[in-house]
């Protein structure tokens, strides 16, 4: 039990939190990026759009926001490992556009 938990922590958020994050991306990020993440006020966050952009940079944008744009900093609601997990999901297309 303990071992399983610590292993999960290293791989990112736990399963239940992953589900929450997935909902959050669709609904809350989706409010600006579109629920299918094909864009709205914010740009599309589809694998094609994110291709070639470094994970670190994208994590930084998510946590810190982008000054003078509508992209807010999420660091009070997400930690670094959660933002990293979201970036991986977005890049692989596991969340979003069907």
């Amino acid at each position: 039990m303990l071992i399983a938990c610590s292993a999960q922590a290293e791989n990112g958020p736990e399963l239940q939190r992953q589900q929450q994050l997935q909902q959050m991306v669709l609904h809350d990020c989706g409010a600006c990026h579109g629920m299918s993440l094909k864009g709205g006020l914010g740009p599309a966050l589809t694998p094609a759009m994110l291709e070639g952009k470094s994970d670190d940079l994208l994590v930084e944008v998510i946590l810190g926001g982008r000054e003078n744009t509508a992209m807010p900093p999420w660091n009070s609601l997400l930690n670094a490992s959660e933002a990293t997990w979201i970036v991986k999901q977005l890049k692989s297309g596991a969340i979003g556009a069907k």
Binding site: L26, H27, A31, G34, M35, S36, L41, A70
Partner: protein, 407 residues
């Protein structure tokens, strides 16, 4: 002829007439049985957007019941609706550019077109004959015949010297069969006059400010006000004298203060007027701003629970109901318009996305995304009257909007 026979004859005639009338009814009933059985008005109807399923739920607000559910409307993640003036049809604007005309009585889609790649909202003209949609992609406004959804006009939001195209927000209808909208990326406000529908005239006003994100029109249809995301203040146009251009109001609002993160863009649609004031959500501050309607100065800042999203006036203007962005989207606060103080707070559940008052305001319907419910409250006692199951509900739109400018 004696008295008795006359009476009998009269009686016979009455009987035959009765039978004829009955036979007529039977024929009518058997040919249009469904429609006949469902005869009703539409003044107490409304629709609720189901965000994730691409469906809408048709409701009536007298008995608080669901009348039906209509699937097949595409991506409704930022959907809104307007109504035909006979309040039989709803026009639903989907995120994916879908424009769907719905027959509320027969509860079916009557027309549907995909008119753009990414859209944000729409409006119906003063005469009820045109539907305009504001698009992000391709940026601009497209106008359709409300009867057939056939295209009438295309207004690309090309601005500046080159061929830059702006996303369009804050589209409303205005008297004179006009549509007014804002160019998010260009800081312009355009007025499209469709009084001659085949030759629309467009007046372009520059200098609205940085990133107008949404707009409202006063209920008399005279003033158009756009909120700015990229800087402080709001942009005002007097539609009685549009050639006078844009006037900036509240330019110093919050100057020099640190802005809080905005996790969801506020909306200006639910404009709220009570007495001498107009109430709007602040951007990046946990405040509702009361603006003096006569000189457009700041009258008061009302501290609230979080970043306000909708500030909706009860139809009598006495109370304002406010919901909030993440992480406070489980809360609704009620402000008294005369004292400008919060008088009540509710916790309907996580993901409170929208609120809509019944036509005369005795009840308010509140959509709560994460509980898959729409809660109905008594606006006098704040007690919950009932709740209705709706999958991931967001926008709620009642047919009373049909007769209000800007809605």
């Amino acid at each position: 002829m004696d008295r008795k026979t006359t009476q009998i004859r009269r009686h016979r005639r009455k009987v035959t007439m009765k039978y004829r009338a009955l036979a007529g009814l039977f024929i009518a009933a058997s040919t249009t049985l469904v429609a006949w059985a469902a005869v009703r008005g539409t003044g107490d109807l409304g629709i609720i957007i189901e965000r994730t399923s691409g469906s809408i739920t048709v409701v009536e607000t007298t008995q608080h019941t669901v009348l039906g559910r209509i699937p097949g409307l595409g991506d409704l993640s930022h959907a809104s609706a307007v109504f035909s003036r006979d309040t039989r049809y709803a026009y639903v604007f989907g995120r994916d550019g879908g424009l769907t005309k719905i027959d509320l009585l027969e509860q079916k889609i009557s027309h549907r077109v995909i008119q753009a790649g990414n859209s944000i909202g729409g409006a119906i003209s003063q005469d009820g004959r045109l539907i305009a949609v504001s698009n992000y992609e391709p940026g601009g406004v497209r106008v359709f015949d409300s009867e057939t959804l056939q295209p009438v006009a295309d207004i690309p939001a090309i601005h500046g010297a080159g061929d830059a195209v702006s996303r369009v927000v804050g589209l409303v209808d205005a008297p004179g069969n006009r549509f007014v909208f804002s160019l998010f990326d260009a800081g312009e406000i355009w007025i499209a006059d469709f009084s001659d529908r085949d030759n629309p005239e467009i007046l372009k006003l520059t200098g609205a400010g940085n990133q107008p994100y949404d707009a409202l029109i006063t209920p008399d249809g005279r003033y158009y006000i756009a909120g700015l995301f990229g800087e402080d203040g709001l942009a005002l146009v007097d539609l009685w004298q549009p050639q006078q251009g844009i006037r900036r109001i509240l330019p110093d609002y919050g100057r020099g203060e640190e802005k809080l993160p905005v996790y969801k863009m506020p909306h200006l649609e639910g404009w709220a007027a009570a007495g001498d004031h107009l109430f709007v959500p602040a951007v990046g501050r946990h405040e509702v701003i009361a603006i003096n309607r006569h000189d457009w100065s700041e009258a008061q800042r009302i501290p609230v629970h979080g970043q306000p999203v909708f500030v909706m006036a009860r139809p009598d203007g006495r109370h304002l109901w406010v919901n909030f962005a993440l992480p406070d989207n489980d809360t609704v606060q009620v402000i008294d318009a005369s004292t400008m103080a919060v008088v009540h707070e509710l916790k309907p559940g996580k993901g409170v996305l929208h609120m809509e008052f019944t036509p005369r305001g005795e009840a308010v319907w509140v959509s709560v995304r994460d509980t898959d419910r729409v809660n109905v409250y008594d606006t006098g006692s704040f007690r919950q009257i009932t709740a209705i199951d709706v999958e991931k509900p967001s926008g709620i739109f009642f047919t009373a909007r049909a007769h209000m400018t800007g809605l």
